[in-house]
């Protein structure tokens, strides 16, 4: 072929997807059983879950190794690179919609369900009949059925964590600039710094959770305020964990000398993911903590 159009690489048969399918099944089946067994003595579900996680980790390593080998062997055309980039962008869009569901729940609780339980709009009788003593407020520190808790202030740890995450986005950007200019040493320094900031964020998040549980009585079960607080920050924390691992692997690959200034999809993807997680945190900080 002499045309400018390079052949698109279509991989031959692969065993990784079916391994991944089995792994995902074990995770789902194990988690489903584990949760049902919470109130009982049985533990089989937990083991199935752990086995599933192990299979998925094995799959990720094997699958990504195949992709990296193919990439290093020069099998991928620029068109393939665009496929990866577009795929990653749409994946992040789906993640945004996932967080959107929980932000939606937060807004609904704040703007509609809590005020209505307090008699707002035309719901005077709702309050009168259900919980006449209930007073609508946000954060909801006293639920209609009388569970009380404390509101997490935005100062202190959350503010520090916000600064840490924003800084990490900046350091990651500097790493990206260094990569594009093929400056190896600053690249490794900036990226290491980003990984460290991610890890510190997670450590402080653990600290914040234990403070909430042990000293403030703010738990997953303390009404819709605690629900939205822990599900939003919890899912965000999971994403930071994944993002940090992602960046660590990128760091190892950079030390091995994997990326070039014009060919570094994996780095681009990791960087997009990290910035996305950062933006989610900013929304969290504003809507969960400050307002």
């Amino acid at each position: 072929m002499t045309t400018k159009h390079q052949t698109y690489y279509v991989p031959a048969q692969s065993g990784w997807p079916i391994i991944g399918a089995i792994g995902l099944f074990l995770i789902a089946f194990g988690a489903g059983n584990y949760i049902q067994q919470l109130a009982t003595e049985k533990t089989s579900g937990g083991y199935i879950l752990l086995a599933g996680i192990a299979v998925i980790i094995f799959m990720i390593f094997g699958w990504f190794k195949t992709v990296i080998d193919e990439s290093m062997a020069g099998l991928y055309s620029p068109q393939m690179d665009r496929s990866f980039r577009q795929g990653m962008s749409w994946f992040i869009f789906s993640e945004i919609m996932f967080f959107g569901a929980f932000f939606g729940a937060l807004f609904y609780a704040r703007m509609i369900s809590v005020p209505w339980l307090g008699g707002a709009s035309n719901n005077a009788m709702t309050q009168e009949v259900l919980w006449p003593a209930f007073e609508a407020a946000w954060p909801l520190i006293k639920t209609p059925d009388g569970t009380t808790t404390e509101a997490m202030p935005w100062t202190g740890l959350p503010l520090i964590n916000t600064i840490i995450l924003i800084t990490s986005s900046v350091t990651l950007h500097f790493a990206h600039v260094s990569l594009e200019k093929a400056k190896r040493k600053p690249l490794i320094i900036w990226l290491s710094l980003t990984v460290i900031l991610g890890a510190v964020f997670l450590a402080l998040q653990v600290e914040e959770y234990s403070h909430a549980y042990q000293e403030m009585g703010l738990t997953l079960t303390s009404g819709v305020y605690g629900n939205t607080f822990f599900l939003l920050t919890g899912f965000h924390g999971m994403h930071v964990t994944i993002g940090t691992l992602f960046l660590m692997i990128l760091l190892l690959r950079i030390i091995k000398g994997h990326f070039t200034p014009d060919k570094h999809f994996a780095f681009q993807a990791g960087s997009w993911y990290w910035h996305f997680v950062d933006v989610v945190w900013l929304c969290l900080f504003i809507f969960v903590y400050v307002l």
């Binding site: 995902l24 789902a28 089946f29 795929g87 749409w90 789906s94 569901a101 819709v224």
Partner: protein, 531 residues
């Protein structure tokens, strides 16, 4: 699964030697869009029969008033799992299978953009449905809260197996999202050079928009099931007013997913019908660009109408009016489509082979479903129709004589390309006429049952509904049996038949008709010239 049928396809592929591997592992390890398309289509058909068997249980119980065959709780499990299996197991995988088979051939691409992920998207589905169907046999039974799993039915009052239901839905969602990402990237990035947007086949256009909807709303469903899980097992109160939440919030989140979901199940049909009608009318499609804009408009509007499922749940009057008018607005782009199909047929040299029969039936019967939808959109009228058999009739007209009929039409239309053989036209016509008569016996009287006040999802009914229910059940059994003819047609066609030739329909337009039948294992490894 059905290894025998897979082996049958295998032999059919033997005639061309572009390196299709042999044996069962071919199907497990494949990265080929045609193999994966076939897997999706067979899986979908097995699920169609499974969900259909559940519908037969429902219709058998409703054949007479009183409780005859099954316990009410089992009846509830049947209605629930019938819905889930048909939506997530039959209709959606069928469309994904068609997308896999057709989109790369239609746009001149060598395969889907991300072939290994394509395999993963498919193979997680059988596991998800094993979990969902397996939960029916657990102590306490399977999901029994309706496919919409409204809280608190799915939280406070649900069986323990709800945990498995939640994770099964998660896997189905992951599968759909990955499948949709693959479709979008394939269409955006893999079109043959020189194929502009406004020359894309409409099936490609409609699937592009469908895939966008999937990526946008499947994560919202994941959020909804997650909140159900934590409400049931971890003491949260998203859907419990005692903790400051609201069961109505569940309905808002669910239907924000659910309404785009119903368009996910119909937009690819529009693409299929827009391919078939011009071929058998021997005229180009009337109003191509208006079709594209109409599809996009429907997709946008689908995000603004979710609360029309909840008129009787209660909301401020302004909201009821807003959702009523937005819903009615959808009739405009849909009307544009129906008008265009009819205008395409107008003064065409029409013939009525089986795909065209299904396509014409689609246009008429889907429009009936659309009209009953308009009746339901009128808020005050909906107060009367809500949760009656009128609603059941409405959505089965759009999903069975709409989505399923279009899938049947597509199967007949492209079977010659897939297998290299013509299907039996006689059997195809038997299948069509048996289906179209029985399906109307099955669903049309449901309108009257609903208007007379028979509630849905109840295993018993008042004595005055007995006669009509018997007619409906007979139609149901007949429709179920008719689908076995379809199975026979497909198997027969795979085994052999009159050779199809590259373009068996002569007037069919599109890149997929420019390559041999059966389509070679790898088509368009180098992009074709677009004139």
């Amino acid at each position: 699964m059905s290894t025998t049928t897979h082996d049958t396809i295998d032999t059919a592929h033997d005639e061309h030697h572009h390196g299709a591997p042999k044996g069962l592992m071919r199907w497990v390890l494949t990265t080929n869009h045609k193999d994966i398309g076939s897997l999706y289509l067979w899986f979908s058909f097995i699920m169609f029969l499974t969900g259909g068997a559940m519908a037969m249980v429902i219709r058998a119980e409703l054949f007479q008033p009183g409780l005859q065959l099954v316990e009410p709780n089992f009846f509830n499990q049947m209605t629930t799992v019938h819905g889930l299996v048909m939506v997530f197991g039959a209709v959606m995988p069928a469309f994904t299978g068609l997308a896999n088979w057709l989109i790369p051939m239609m746009i001149g691409a060598p395969d889907m953009a991300l072939p290994r992920m394509n395999n993963w998207s498919f193979w997680i589905l059988p596991f998800a449905f094993t979990m969902l169907l397996g939960s029916l046999f657990m102590e306490g039974g399977g999901p029994n809260f309706g496919w919409t799993f409204y809280a608190p039915l799915s939280t406070t009052y649900s069986p323990d197996s709800t945990a498995l239901f939640v994770f099964a839905i998660h896997i189905m969602g992951i599968s759909s999202i990955m499948g949709a990402i693959n479709v979008v990237v394939t269409i955006v990035n893999m079109r043959a050079p020189g194929m502009p947007w406004m020359k894309l086949p409409l099936f490609v256009w409609t699937w592009l928009i469908t895939a966008f909807l999937l990526i946008a709303v499947m994560p919202v469903l994941a959020g909804a099931v997650t909140m159900v899980l934590t409400d049931k097992f971890f003491g949260t109160s998203f859907f419990d007013a005692a903790g400051g939440g609201d069961p109505v919030m569940f309905q808002h989140i669910f239907w924000f997913f659910g309404h785009p979901e119903v368009y996910i199940m119909i937009l690819p049909s529009f693409g299929i019908i827009s391919a078939i009608v011009p071929t058998f009318s021997r005229k180009p499609l009337f109003g191509y660009s208006s079709m594209v804009y109409a599809t996009a408009s429907i997709a946008i509007l689908s995000f603004l109408v979710w609360a029309h499922h909840m008129f009787t749940t209660g909301m401020p009057v302004f909201a009821e009016l807003f959702f009523m008018y937005c819903t009615m607005l959808i009739a405009v782009p849909t009307g544009v489509k129906v008008f265009n199909w009819v205008a395409t047929m107008w003064r065409g040299s029409m013939t009525f082979e089986t795909p065209m029969l299904f396509a014409v039936a689609f246009i008429i019967l889907f429009t009936i479903g659309g009209f009953s939808g308009l009746m339901l959109a009128i808020t005050p009228a909906d107060f009367q129709y809500h949760d009656t058999y009128f609603v059941v009739a409405h959505f089965h007209y759009v999903l069975v004589t709409g989505a399923i009929f279009s899938i049947m039409a597509a199967a007949y239309y492209w079977l010659p390309k897939w297998t290299g053989n013509m299907y039996s036209e006689t059997l195809g016509r038997w299948h069509f006429w048996c289906s179209v008569i029985s399906v109307n016996v099955l669903f049309f009287p449901m309108h009257f049952l609903g208007l007379a006040g028979m509630p849905r999802r109840i295993p018993d009914y008042a004595i005055q509904f007995a006669d009509v229910n018997q007619i409906v059940s007979i139609g149901g059994f007949a429709f179920g049996l008719s689908q076995l003819i379809f199975l026979a047609v497909v198997l027969k066609c795979i085994k052999g038949g009159k050779p199809a030739g590259d373009n068996p329909w002569q007037a069919a337009d599109g890149l997929e008709w420019s390559i041999p039948s059966p389509a070679p294992y790898h088509s368009f490894t180098t992009p074709p010239e677009i004139k």
